[in-house]
Amino acid sequence: MPSKTKTLSKILKYIGIYKLYLIFSTLLAAASVGLTLYVPILIGDAVDLAVDKGLVDFEGLGVILLRIAVVVAVTALLQWLMNVCNNRLTYNVVRDVRRDAFAKIEILPLKYIDSHPTGEIVSRVIADVDQFADGLLMGFTQLFTGVVTILGTLGFMLSINVGISLVVILITPVSLFVAAFIAKMTFSMFKLQSETRGEQTSLIDEMVGSQKVVQAFGRQAQVQEEFDGINDRLEKCSLRAVFYSSITNPGTRFVNSLVYTGVGLTGAIAALRGGISVGQLSCFLSYANQYTKPFNEISGVVTELQNALACAARIFELIEEEPQIPEPENAVELAAPEGSVGLEHVNFSYEPNQRLIEDMNLSVTPGSRVAIVGPTGCGKTTVINLLMRFYDPVSGRITVDGNDVRDITRGSLRRSYGMVLQDTWLRAGTVRDNIAMAKIDASEEEIIAAAKASHAHSFIKRLPQGYDTVIGEDGGGLSQGQKQLLCITRVMLCLPPMLILDEATSSIDTRTELRIQRAFAKMMEGRTSFIIAHRLSTIMDADTILVMKDGHVIEQGRHDELLAKGGFYADLFNSQYNI
C-alpha cells in the first residue's frame, strides 16, 4: 500500500490543473463564512436598538436592517459561486482520473487483465472513483468551511466576551467524545450486520441465480426457510446496529443544549453586571448554535476523507500499473502478408516457476491449414495468445513473413488475423453493430452476405427487429451457439489474410458446423489458418496437425500419417469414434 502522503500528492497533482478553481473556492469560502458570522452581530445590534416601549431607534434600525439584507444577498451569491467552483473542481478531477484509468486499461498487458477479476477493476473505475468524488466534494465544501466557521466564531465570540466564550470552548468537546464513544461501541454491531448481510446476499445470489433449478426440484419452501433464518438474524442485529448508532444525534444534541444553557446562564449573569447587552447575548446564543454544528460535521468528513484516500490509492494503483511493452520507433507496418509464420525455440509460461511451452518450433508456409489438438491444458490456447501477441514469449521468437512480431506494429499484426474464440464476446448494442465491429463502414449487403455465409442470417431474421435487435451486454438473450455464429460473421465480414479459430464452433450443432466449415474453407483458400478443435472430425483435412501434450508438440503430420503411426493422435481419434 502506498503511503497516504504519496497518494495525497498524486491527488494534488490532479487538482493542480484546476488551481484557479481551488483558489477561488478558498477565497469564496473564507469570505462567505466571515459574512455569515457577521449577520448575528448585526441582528444583535438591531435587537439592542429595540429596547422597550417607546425606546426604539428606528433610523439606526433601518440602516442595520438594510445592511443585513445586503450582507445576506452577497453571502448567498458567494456560497453559490463556491458550490459551483467546488463542483467543477471535483467533477473535472474525477473525469480526469477516470479517463486516465480507462486509457491504462486499453494498454494494460493481457496478463494483468487475465489475472484480475473484472468486477474488481470495474469497481475501481466506478465505485472507488465515486467514493473518491464524494469525499473530495465533502472535503471541499464542509471541511474547509467548517474549520473557518469554528475559528471565525471563536474569534467573534472572544471579541465580544472572553468569559462566555470559555464556557462554549470547554463544553463543546464533550459532544465529540460522545460521538466517538458511540461510534466505537457500535463498530462490532455494524460488523456483524454487514457480515450477516453478506451471507444473505450470497444466498440470494446463489438461489435467485439458479431459480430455475430451485423450481425444477420444487425446493421453494426449503430455500425460503433458509432465507427466513438469515433474515431473522439480520433483523435482530441490524436493529441493534441502527438503534445504537442513531443515539449519536440525540446525544450530541443534548450536549449542544447544555452549551446553549451554559451560554444563557453566564451570558445573563454577565448582562446583569453590564458586561454585555441583550443584543450581544442573542448574538452569542446563535453562535452557540452555529459553533457546535461544524464539529459534528467535521468528524463525519474526516472518516469520509480517509475512505476517499483509500479509494484514491486503489485507483492510482491501477493507473500506475506497468503497461504493455511499447512498440519500437521503426516498427514495421504489415501491409498484405503472404502468411508464412514461424516459431523458433519459443519458451513460455504464465507463472515463472510453471513451465508451459518449451522449445516450440514450427514453420508454416503461406496458405496452409494448421490444426492444433491435444488434451485440456496442453497449451493450445497459449499458442494463439502468442500468435496474436496477447502475450510475448519468454525466450525465442515468432515471425510473420520473416519479421519478428515484436518489430511489427501491434495494429497491423492483429489486423492480419481474423480470430474467433471459444469465449464469445458480444457487446451491448444492435446485432448490426456487433457484426460491423471490424468494418464500421460495411454496407448492408456486405453484412447480410457475411451473415449468410456463417449461417447466422436465418436466426437474425427471426429476431424481433432483425439486424437492429438490441442485444444485452455479453449477448444476453442469445444462446451460446447463436453468439458463436455472430462472432464468426464478424470475421467473415472483414476477411483478414490469416485466420485463427479457437474452438470456434464448439457450441454449434455438427450439421451447421460442417456448413460453416465449408464456407471457411472456401474463404480461406490461399490463406494461412490455425484451428483448434475438440471434435477431430473437423480438422481431418488440415495440412498439418500438431498434437500437443504438456506444452510440447509430440506429433506432427497429416491425419492419415498420424493415424498410421498409431501414437497419441490415433488413440485420441479412436476414443472419439468408438463407443
Binding site: 441582528i43 438591531a46 429595540a50 416601549k53 434600525l61 439584507a69 445576506v72 448567498a76 453559490w80 458550490n83 463542483n87 467533477y91 473535472n92 473525469r95 477516470r98 480507462f102 486499453e106 473505475v125 448481510r197 444473505q200 440470494i204 446463489e206 435467485v208 439458479s210 431459480q211 430455475k212 433449478v213 420444487g218 425460503q224 433474515n231 436493529l239 441502527v242 438503534f243 442513531s246 446525544g251 443534548f254 446553549y260 449573569i269 448582562a271 446583569l272 441583550v278 448554535n289 496474436m388 492483429r414 464476446w425 457487446r427 451491448a428 471490424a438 436466426f459 451486454e473 444462446s479 447463436q482 454449434i508 450443432d509 455438427t510 450439421r511 460442417l514 472430425s537 469414434y577 463407443i579
Partner: protein, 577 residues
Amino acid sequence: MFRLLRYMGSYKKETVLAPLFKMLEAFFELLVPLVMASIIDVGIANRDNGHIIRMCLLMAALGLIGLVCSITAQFFAARAATGFSAKLKRALFAHVQGLSYTELDTLGTGRLITTMTSDINQVQNGVNLVLRLFLRSPVVVFGAMIMAFTIDVPSALTFVVTIPALSIVVFGIMLISIPLYKKVQTGLDRVLVATRENLTGARVIRAFNKEEKETADFNEKNEALTGLQKFVGRISGLMNPVTYVIVNLATVVLIHRGALRVYGGRITQGELVALVNYMSQILVELVKLANLIISVTKAIACGNRVQEIFKVESSLSDDAKSVPDKKSEYAVEFRDVSLRYKNAGADSLSGISFKVKPGQTVGVIGGTGSGKTSLVNLIPRFYEATGGQVLINGSPVADYPLAYLREIIGVVPQKAVLFKGTIRSNLLWGKPDASESELERALATAQAADVVAAKENGLDSPVEQNGGNFSGGQRQRLTIARALVRRPEILILDDSSSALDFATEARLRKAIAEDCGSTLFIVSQRAASIRHADLIIVLDDGLAVGMGAHSQLMKSCEVYREIYESQFGKGEKADAV
C-alpha cells in the same frame, strides 16, 4: 413505493410512536426560546439572579427530557424500519420463488439480485430516515410558527409568508433534480458498461484494433457524465444559498415589525429575541432537511423498483388440488403443441405431436436454436404451451398440482448447477428424506460413484458455490444423480451428458434403463447419444421434420442423415460403429 407500506402493518404502534416522541422532543426544543425570553425579560430586567438560575435549570431539564424522548423515538423508528425491511425482503423472496420461467426470463437474474439486495437496503434507510428525521422537520418548522403566534400575532404573520416560500424552493429544487439524478445514474451506468466491456472483451477489442476508438467513445461518455453532474450540482447547489436568503430576509422583516411592536409596548425585547430564535431554528432545520432529501428521493426510486417486481405476477396458474387419475396408456403425449415465448417474433415450436409409453426412451435432436430445450421444458410445465396440449398419463399438465408434477419429473438442465454445501446436501435436493443407500444407488446409476470415492470425505465433501471445485463432467454426473435420487417417473436429460465421453455416456444410459425404468427424454446434439432411442424427434427451426427410430430416419429424414453423417462420416462407416 407507497404500496410497499403495507408491510409496515404489524409495526403500526412503532410507526405512530416514533414520530410522536420525535414531536415531543421538538416541542420541548421549541420551549427553549421562551425560557430564554423569560431570562431576558424577567431575570435581566428585574436583576433576579434566582430566576436566571431556575430558568437555566429548566432549560437543562428540557434538554434531558428531549434526549429521553428522542432516544425512545429512535428505538421505535429502528424497530419499525428493520422490521419493515425484513418483512419486505421475505415477501419479495417468496414472490420471486413463485414466479414462473417466463417472468424470470423477462426480469433477468441480475435485476432480481440487485433489487433484493441494494434496492431494499436503500428503502430501509429511507424508512428509517423518514421516521427519525423527516417528520421532525415539519414539526419544528410549523411548531416554530405556532410558538411565534403565541408570542405576537402580527409579527408571526412573517412566518406565514416565509414557510410556503421555503417549501416552494425546497420542493421545487427537489422536483427538478430528481429526474436529473436519474440521468446521472444512467450516465454512470454507461461508463460502467464501457469499462466492463473493455475488460471482458480485451482480446477481441485488441484483435480488431479498436483501442483508440474505444478510448474516444469512453471519453465521450465520461464527458457527458461530468457535464450532467456539474449541471445537477449547479441546481442543487442553489438550495442552501436561496433558503439562507429567504430566512434572513424574513428575519429582517421580523425585526422591523417586531421593533414597531416593541415601540408600541406590545412585546418585550426578550420576546423579540425569541421570535428571531424561532426563525433561526427553521433555518437550521431546513439545512438538515436538504441533506436528507437526496437520500429519501433515492429510497423512493428504489422502492419503485421493488414495487415493479411485486407487480409481476406468475403467469402459471396452480389451481389443481388433487392428482388426476391415470387415463391413458401413454406416459407423455403432445397434441399439436406450439410455443411462442413472450415478446418473441415467431413460434419456437409448432405443430408437435407424439406419444410415449412408460419406460420408453425419446431422443430429441436438432441444430442450435431448433427448439429442443423448449420442447422438454413443456413437460414439467416450466412454460405453458401457447397452442395444443401436453398430457401426462392422459391428463393435461395444467390439471396437476405444480409441486406434484415436478416431483414425478426429474430434470437435469444443460447448465450443471450445484449449490454451496456438501455432495450430500446437493443430492438431498432430489429427495429430502433419502436414505444413504438411495443416495449411493443414484450415484452408481449416474456413473458418479468414483467422483465421490475420490473425495476424502465422501458424501460429506464440501461443494463450493456453483460447484467450482468439480470439473464439468463431474458436475454433470452429480446433477444427474441428484435427479435420480427421487426415482422420477419421467427423467429429462437436457444435453446434460455432453461433457462425458461416449463410453461413460453409454454406460449411463444403460444403467438408467435398468435401474429406474423411467420414461426417458434425452436431448442431445450427438447422434450417438440418441440413436438407440425408441423414438427420435428431429427438430429444425421449431418443426418436427422427422420422427421414428434410427434406421427409419436414416432412410426418410434428410436432416437426420446429415446430422448423423456430419458426426460419423458416410454410409458404411456409420454402420460399423
